[in-house]
């Protein structure tokens, strides 16, 4: 079966590079075709890469607490660019302070995200979700 393509990167003005490399490595090992955009990636860059590589999902990381602002509007822009039903996943330290994660999750789902992960999530969880979303056995 052809490999599924995942576009990943750290959104906004965030320069946390280490976790990004580990994520990309783990996804690659799990059999995905990984397009890693690195750190400080804008919404437009995620979309451009996803169009050009015909990506199956976009996996957004944010570690510096501004993730909610950075991710807002990504779904709308994807729709505009023709990436209509592309799964959007987000994880990391996506919000500031001690907030109830279920509330955060609600807000991200309302923003059009398919899955959101709290801090400390194991990559295996996300890989399992990706396999399910993309119909990989």
């Amino acid at each position: 079966m052809e490999k599924k393509t995942i576009v990943t990167g750290v959104i906004g003005a965030d320069v946390h590079a280490v976790g990004n490399k580990i994520l990309a490595f783990a996804l690659d090992q799990a059999g995905f075709n990984v397009v890693n955009l690195g750190v400080m990636v804008s919404q437009e860059e995620f979309i451009a890469a996803a169009i050009e590589t015909n990506a199956d999902a976009i996996l957004v990381s944010s570690l510096y607490g501004h993730g909610e602002i950075d991710c807002n509007g990504l779904r709308e822009k994807c729709n505009e660019a023709g990436l209509k039903d592309i799964p959007l996943l987000a994880g990391g330290n996506i919000v500031v302070g001690k907030q109830e994660f279920s509330e955060v999750e609600k807000r991200f789902i309302a923003m059009g995200f398919t899955k959101v992960y709290p801090p400390g999530t194991q990559i295996e969880t996300t890989i399992a979700d990706l396999n399910e979303i993309l119909g990989i056995k």
Binding site: E2, T5, A13, D14, V15, N33, V35, L37, G38, V39, M40, A48, A49, I51, E52, T53, N54, Y64, G65, H66
Partner: protein, 461 residues
């Protein structure tokens, strides 16, 4: 051994006669290019002019390049503007073609008609990484196959779409060649195969269409596009040969009547630390062509982009003199300014401004961004701030009494600190217009071409 190089330009056919034993250019000559009747007439006239200068001579090898009739017109198609569409444009420009327009995404009916109007010689079709998006490149292949013009197509896009594309073009009887993807995987630029396909098609097309078959039959060496020859010359001077070290990073600027060409030979790595690199990587040898910046045919669009009033104040020249001169040149493209006149000064000021814009478009952009982690720089394109030499090619620079002033347009400018132009370059000039000639010669004898280049390209400041 004696070499004769010929450059069939759009206006002049230029000859350079080289003696390999004395390792120098013996003489040069020129005559009007006679593209409308028979190019051989102009060539014969130039030979006669050369003979008048140095007497009877014999050459052992003949090397030719051509940009006759404005060179080969090309359009490029890609998918995302800042990705494969940009890569397509870069590949075509670097191969020496004149890129009239670049299109992205699925082209519209209007764009399809526009390509018909442009009537290009070559079309470069890109789009999608290997295994990536193929709908758009296939859709564009269908659109191109419907355009009833006699152009050749170079396909350098998603390899997974090549079967279908081959079928589309074979069915419609279009002349096409499929080569490696310019962006096989994300942000990885591979432009050499596309470049070499463009070069091969160029030779075929130019020989057929521009009546250069007689001259091609006179030599074993293929006729190449003039800008590619200039690029070879620049590369040689920058890198040197196995025996002679080159002069390092350089930039060359050729400002003509209709276009301004900028070449940079540099990796363009960031010169400061803490820099994030953005966008697609650019090649060591990069050429860009600005079709809206030129000293005659494109003068009106230069003037739209500069502030004439500000220039008048800055240089203390009456605005009426500037405006009158510009009008005269637009209406009479063969106008030449008198040496030492105020018009010559105006000419130099406009050339300097045009170069400033052209180099700004060619160079990269370094921006600072404040993040929660402090100030961080991002670089898009090449960082050319450390480039050591800026070389002027072309009449507007060569014939000016103050070429340094004109070339200083290429220099880093405090009013636009994000543009990575050279900060402290020395200026050089190609007085005899030998870059193309030496580029041609380098395909046969690198060391000889390098020695002559080093001798002839002179520092002026």
């Amino acid at each position: 051994m004696n070499y004769l190089t010929v450059d069939f330009g759009s206006t002049f056919t230029k000859l350079t006669f080289i003696d390999s034993i004395r390792e120098e250019v013996i003489s040069t000559s020129a005559a009007f290019t006679t593209i409308d009747t028979n190019v051989m007439d102009g060539f014969g006239k130039a030979l006669q002019n050369l003979e008048n200068k140095i007497g009877q001579f014999k050459y052992d090898r003949l090397l030719c390049c051509s940009s006759a009739a404005g060179g080969l017109k090309m359009v490029a198609l890609g998918l995302v503007p800042e990705l494969t569409a940009k890569a397509a444009k870069m590949a075509a420009s670097s191969a020496g073609a004149k890129v009239i327009k670049t299109y992205s995404f699925e082209i519209s009916k209007r764009e399809q008609d526009e390509i018909y109007q442009i009537n290009p010689d070559l079309v470069l079709l890109c789009g999608g990484t290997d295994g990536g998006n193929k709908e758009v490149i296939i859709a564009n292949a269908i659109r191109l196959s419907q355009i009833e013009r006699n152009f050749s197509i170079i396909v350098a896009g998603n390899k997974s779409a090549s079967y279908q594309i081959e079928e589309i073009f074979s069915k419609s009887g279009k002349d096409f060649v499929i080569t490696d993807n310019v962006m096989p995987y994300f942000n990885n630029l591979v432009i050499e195969p596309a470049k070499s396909s463009i070069k091969d098609l160029f030779i075929r097309k130019i020989v057929e269409a521009k009546g250069l078959s007689t001259i091609q039959n006179m030599t074993d060496f293929k006729i190449i596009p003039t800008p590619l020859a200039v690029m070879y010359g620049c590369e040689l001077l920058s890198k040197g040969t196995s025996k002679n070290p080159g002069i390092g990073d350089l930039m060359a600027i050729d400002i003509g009547g209709a276009t301004t060409d900028v070449y940079s030979m540099s990796k363009g790595n960031p010169s400061v630390s803490n820099v994030m690199i953005k966008g697609i990587p650019e090649p060591y040898s990069k050429r860009s062509v600005e079709g809206d910046l030129g000293m005659r045919y494109s003068l009106s669009s230069v003037c739209e982009q500069v502030d004439i009033e500000m220039l008048s104040i800055k240089y203390g020249i009456d605005i009426k003199i500037i405006k009158d001169w510009i009008e005269l040149c637009i209406n009479n493209p063969d106008t030449i300014s008198q040496n030492g006149s105020i018009q010559e000064r105006v000419e130099a000021i406009i050339a300097r401004e045009a170069i400033s814009i052209a180099v700004q478009r060619h160079a990269g952009v370094m921006e600072s961004i404040f993040t929660p982690m402090g100030e961080i720089y991002t670089l898009t394109g090449k960082d050319l701030t450390q480039v050591e030499s800026v070389i002027g090619i072309g009449g507007a620079i060569k014939n000016s009494s103050d070429p340094t002033f004109i070339l200083e347009g290429a220099k880093f400018d405090l009013s636009n600190i994000t543009s990575t132009k050279p900060k402290n370059p020395c200026y050089m000039i190609d007085e005899k217009y030998i870059f193309a000639s030496m580029g041609l010669l380098s395909t046969v004898d690198k060391d000889l071409a390098f020695k002559i280049l080093k001798k002839e390209i002179k520092q002026i400041n």
